[in-house]
Symmetry: C2
Subunit: 341 residues, 2 copies
């Protein structure tokens, strides 16, 4: 099968790999209908994070059709169209039952398998995969794929930011996760949604997803603008979807004392000074999103065409051109790239 | 009037100072029935934190009788016995109304006035002071004084740790705040309360307050013991009541993914690595406790003799001997010192 491999910063190739097989009786093999490139794939692409192996199979998002199941799999069957989280989980341990499937005591990161490929093995299939109500129409595929990571991650950020009726939510990061957080905040009932963005097309998509205000300033100036817009108090909650020192403090300082910061950008070089944090009095919550918790609800919203998170994909390429897709995302000429087979 | 002054590390003196006067029409003057020394007073005493002025008037906890009120004060009257938080607040702004009076947009730190003294000015009296149902019996004074800071702070920590029925809560820090957090977790219905302590008398008080388990290990070993006691998962929530790098990570690592860390120890030298924090998936919340939020409930519990938080005071001294009290707390021969006039 064809799959994307990274050999080092900026060096992405598409190669033939062995097709995955059922190893454990709880495994499923899924034939991908589409895959995509994640903002987090850019960290090693930019040399800001080492590869785990060289070369490394890339990708952790996936939707597709179940091709084979292990002997113990009973929640999905061959032929089902499925969506799964970027973290495989048993969905039965205490952590999963509390809604934190991304930190399941048996969790397996799907990045291990490299889902920018025609086929993937999915461990703990019963706990990980959610079947759609039927075979989806083609135009639903991007949105279902978005549910596998960016939508679920933005949703988690918005939930952690306590988005809800009457609330003002600000969003730091105008990538696919930040944009999804805007969509999520809107769905969760937020009254006012403030997006930080300097990028005209992303601003437009943010507004389409529900943003009511756009701020182009960053850092302390950006945070100060949020306070100006909120009677000096700050946002009730903020989603942080970047992962840098500046973006974290921008999010924290944009939020009022007692407010909520949901941080879902994978931290790179972030150090939080304890005393400064202490006197912000914010709630800080984040980490890898428990996408599995939200999948049934998100799939239904997509199925009913109540939301269209697939709009974050603004470039579609055949997998052969994956290198071009990485380049476009790195240069920010594309927000998120969908790969077809 | 007599008041405690700190001239530098280890140098505490009791001196005559001018009596405070009503400055703003929203002020009250309170004649203290008792005051006390706080764990946070030990930071400058140990030279770990500079004085704001030299010498500095010390103290921020207080109970007593209203002696004078400004023209606009209407919620308390001369002769009322009152308890107030260590932060004065208007109790009307959006931050106060959301329950974060310690971060009121008009907040004033009571440490500014130095309440280890016979009299104190209390700004924003209507929003800050809560009158007791009547003149308290003498044996209630220590508990009412505890409500002014340590009990309210421990309570906030336990609330932030989401202590409640069926929950396992661990508590880092066996000072007066940590012990109060044990009492709070018990009152809030926690099923199991794990106290970290190596000090036999504090262990005994923790058990009297509701602790079910004691762990003598610290740091990673201590956190690992909590995981052992909780089926490998970790506590549902942890109260951090120290404020050091070791105690913060001990608290975070003792807590399960998706769990809650309430941190109320004023941070000294804490730096949180963003990536490590990200993968813990805990909720982190803390800061200066909004004691005012809890005062009506806590005063009633004390009045009804349902709780006796005043047990944290294990040494009572006349104010003239304040220096001896600081020394006893510094050497940990006393947990908390009550000062009388």
């Amino acid at each position: 099968m064809r799959g994307v491999m990274m050999y080092g910063p900026g060096d992405v190739r598409v190669e033939e790999r062995d097709a995955p097989k059922v190893v454990e009786p709880t495994d499923a093999i899924v034939r991908l209908t589409a895959s995509c490139i994640c903002g987090s794939d850019l960290w090693p692409y930019r040399g800001a994070e080492p590869l785990y192996t060289t070369p490394q199979a890339m990708g952790h998002e996936y939707v597709g059709v179940v091709e084979q199941i292990g002997a113990q799999v009973k929640n999905v069957k061959v032929g089902d169209f499925v969506v799964g989280s970027f973290v495989a989980s048993d969905n039965t341990c205490e952590i999963c039952q509390a809604g934190y499937q991304s930190r399941c005591i048996h969790n397996v990161m799907m990045g291990e398998f490299g889902t920018q490929a025609e086929l993937t093995r999915v461990p703990l299939a019963d706990g990980t995969l959610v079947a759609t109500p039927g075979q989806p129409e083609a135009d639903l595929i991007p949105s279902l794929l978005a549910a596998s990571d960016v939508l679920g991650t933005g949703w988690y950020g918005a939930v952690a930011a306590e988005a809800g009726p009457g609330k003002t939510i600000s969003v730091v990061g105008d990538g696919a996760v930040g944009l999804s957080a805007v969509l999520a905040a809107k769905q969760l009932g937020a009254e006012r949604i403030i997006m930080f963005s300097r990028h005209p097309e992303r601003q437009a998509l943010a507004r389409a997803f529900g943003a009511t205000d756009i701020i182009e300033d960053r850092g302390d100036e950006g945070a100060a603008k949020v306070k100006e817009l909120t009677g000096g108090y700050g946002a009730h909650g903020t989603v942080e979807a970047v992962g840098t020192q500046e973006s974290m403090w921008q999010a924290i300082n944009a939020t009022r004392p007692g407010g909520y910061v949901g941080y879902v950008g994978v931290s790179h070089g972030v150090e939080l000074d304890g005393l400064n944090l202490f006197f912000t009095s914010v709630h800080l919550h984040g980490g890898p999103a428990p996408v599995r918790q939200y999948l049934p609800e998100l799939i239904q919203l997509i199925w009913d065409r109540a939301i269209e998170p697939g709009k974050v994909f603004d470039l579609t390429l055949p997998i052969e051109d994956a290198a071009e897709g990485y380049k476009a995302m790195d240069q920010r000429s594309a927000t998120k790239v969908l790969l077809t087979f």
